[in-house]
Structures are given as structure tokens and as C-alpha cells.
């Protein structure tokens, strides 16, 4: 079966990820109890952004409630993304706790994302917990987030959160 999507329909950036990739992301970002953060990039077709690659950032500060990347590693990964002809699509990080509620972005998360979006970056924020909940958020930019594949269900009463079967 073939489904077609009219590219002109997407008036706002449309981010697409498959459940397999999100499962990998959850595994990558929850090896221990500390938070882990990284950049996500991938293909871009017009206003459609496909999330397909994790670019891990080295930590300068890392604890169960904080992740600050090193200046050098953050810059290096962003430059690597651009040098390969891609752009930054999303940031991904883990939160402590369990359930959809634990994926709510903090003030620090929102400020960092706003800092990127203020400069015109079409970047989505993603947060996961170790039990497989993933949330998309964006302080300043309207967006659509589509998850494709098996083993994923939306959280009832929460449009921005998904449960990935691990």
C-alpha cells in the first residue's frame, strides 16, 4: 500500500521519526541514571524533517537532573552535521522518573530550545524517560510530529507524548 502526502499541506515544520529510531534513542539516552543529551539530524525534504541520526555530545556536567555539553563537543557536532550537508533537526535528552509526566520540559530545557529557535533554527525538542515515554516540545515554533511504525501509542489526553514499547 502506498500513501502519499502533499508536501504543500505542511504549513509548519513536520518532523517524522520511526518507532525503531525512537526506541534506539531511548536506549542510547538512558544507559545509567544520569541525563544524556544529543543532537538529532537526518534528511530534509522541504518542510519535512526526518529524524534518523543521533549525534552524541560529550558532557561537561552530568547528573540525574542536569546535562551540559562541552563547548567543544557541541560546536564540533553541529559543524559535522553542517559539513555533511544536513542541519540540526532536534535535540534529545533523557529525564529521571517514569511516565509521561516525567517528560515535561524544565525551564532550562525551554530556555535552551528558545535560544536556538530565536535565531531561526527549525529545531524540535525531544525528551524521554527510561520506561519509554517520549515527548516533543517547542517553545516558539509551531510543529507537527509524526511517529511511524509499530510498537508506539499516543498517551491519552496528552497530544505531545508517546509511549514506545521497549
Amino acid at each position: 500500500m502506498k500513501t502519499s502526502i502533499n508536501l504543500n499541506v505542511a504549513h509548519c515544520p513536520m518532523f517524522i521519526a520511526d518507532s525503531w529510531f525512537l526506541r534506539d534513542c531511548v536506549t542510547h539516552h538512558t544507559p545509567l541514571q544520569d541525563e544524556v543529551g544529543s543532537y538529532i539530524t537526518g534528511q530534509r525534504l522541504g518542510n519535512i524533517f526526518v529524524l534518523s541520526r543521533i549525534c552524541a555530545v560529550d558532557a561537561q556536567v552530568q547528573s540525574p537532573v542536569r546535562f551540559i555539553g562541552t563547548t567543544q563537543s557541541s560546536a564540533s557536532k553541529l559543524i559535522e552535521i553542517l559539513e555533511n550537508g544536513n542541519k540540526l533537526h532536534a535535540t534529545f535528552h533523557s529525564h529521571p522518573g517514569r511516565g509521561a509526566g516525567a517528560t515535561n520540559p524544565s525551564g532550562i530545557d525551554i530556555r535552551y530550545m528558545a535560544k536556538l529557535q530565536e535565531r531561526g533554527a527549525k529545531v524540535l525538542g525531544l525528551i524521554c524517560t527510561r520506561d519509554g515515554y517520549v515527548r516533543a516540545y517547542s517553545p516558539l515554533m509551531p510543529f507537527l510530529f509524526i511517529v511511524q511504525g509499530n510498537g508506539v501509542e499516543s498517551v491519552e489526553g496528552d497530544d505531545c507524548a508517546y509511549k514506545i514499547q521497549l
Binding site: M1, C12, V65, Y112, A136, Y137
Partner: protein
Amino acid sequence: MKQQNLPVLYQVPATPIVMKNILIADAATGSHMQVTIHPGTTAGQVLSQAGFNQDFVLTRNRDGESIPMDENLYESVPDGAKVWASTPVDFGRDYLSDLDTGDEPEQLPEFYVPPFKYYSPPFAKVSVPPIKSPAPIIDVRVATSRPAARRVIRHIEVKPAQLPYWQEKGWTRSRDTFTTVYVGYFHSPRHKVRGEIDENVFSCKISVHNPPEHVLRHHPTWGCFHRRANGWWEIHHHGCPNASSAIVQVERTLNEAEELDHENLY
């Protein structure tokens, strides 16, 4: 052939100021900006005048370390060079988010922005349900891969600040035969600390009055702070050639200590 005597030039014409053009690439967006810099322009001045937030830093290349804010960019980069502006990844929880009560606290500190007001504006709703198997295939007729275009979106000219940093920060200066004494305040987001800097030809003696010990204690350079009489502390900072650089160093130490203190609390 007989060589003619050339006239002697007694007056050397003034050397014109040679400016440099550099390209700043925003590493998050991929956009470029052409910047003309005057002699003496520092990295910090370029970033602030190019409209970058104070958290941004400049980097020469993928493997290079970030360029210090006070580095003379005019001297250190060649004409036509490309530098990258980026900000380090920063995620975490602040203490009010951790309360997780769902209610808005009555008194909020200035820096706190309630998350629910930010991430759920009406337009930022996701209304597309997850797509079940069989997975759809996006039918795109033309899917040519295009290299990221290098577009110069604007051109600005950055001039070095006319005032030295100590003067910008409102410090006062008095001189005697051997020493120049600067008096003023070190500023940080949470503190204003009285200070005195004795600058002589060899070094700077930095003194602070009643610094926030409980905050500075977390900083790796706390060992450089030595208690003196009447609430004064002397700081042994190496490599401060003048008062401006000493003020920058101490304010940076205060900033970093406050950051560390904040992390230790939460």
C-alpha cells in the same frame, strides 16, 4: 645606463586602517553572516554586535577549541576566514519544576518561566496520531539532494569598544609614582562585590571586600583567595596584565561559582 638620483621622501604617508572581512556561520541554523572587523576587535565584541546571545562562543573549526571572548580576533584570524558560532547543549531541571505540583507558584524568581506557558501555545499542538503498520511511504516525485547553500544573510561592521573595560564598568582610577589604583565593583548576576586593583609594571594585586564565601567555595580557584584584615581578601590571579583583564577574570570566577553553587543546590 646611468642611474638617476631619486628624491628622498621625508614624509611617510599615514598607513590606512586595514579592515578584515570574516564569515560567521551559525552552527545551529547553518546561516552565514559577513562581518567586517577593525583592528583590536575581540571575539566577544563580534558576537554581541552580531546579535548572538551571551552563551554563544566562536570556534575556528570542528576540532578546535572555542575562541576566548577577550581574544583579539583581528590578530588571530586571517582575512576571509570562517568561524562558527554555537552554544553548548544545556538541559536540566530547576528546583521549581521539580516541585511538579501543577500549580503556578505564588512568587517566582525573575529567571523562572513556567513551562506550561511556553510549550503548549495553541499552535504547538500535535494532532497527528501515531501511524500504525503498514507504514506509509511518502511519495515524493523529485527528491534531489541539494548541498546546503551558503547564503550570506547580512553584513555588519564591528568596531572595537572605545572605552577600556574598567571604565565601561564604572571603576575609578588614581595614580601615584609606581602604582595605579582602581576602585569599583565586580558584578555578577547575583552579586556586587567591592574591589580594588593595584596595577604596577609587573603585576596586578586584586582585593575584594566581603566576597560571597559560601558561593566561591565551590570554585576550583577558591585556593587563590586569601583572607586579609577588615573583611578584605586578596586574590592571587596569575596572568592578569592589567586592571581590565583582572576585572574580567574575577567576574568570570564569580559567574562560574554561582553556576556551580546553583548546580549543587539542585
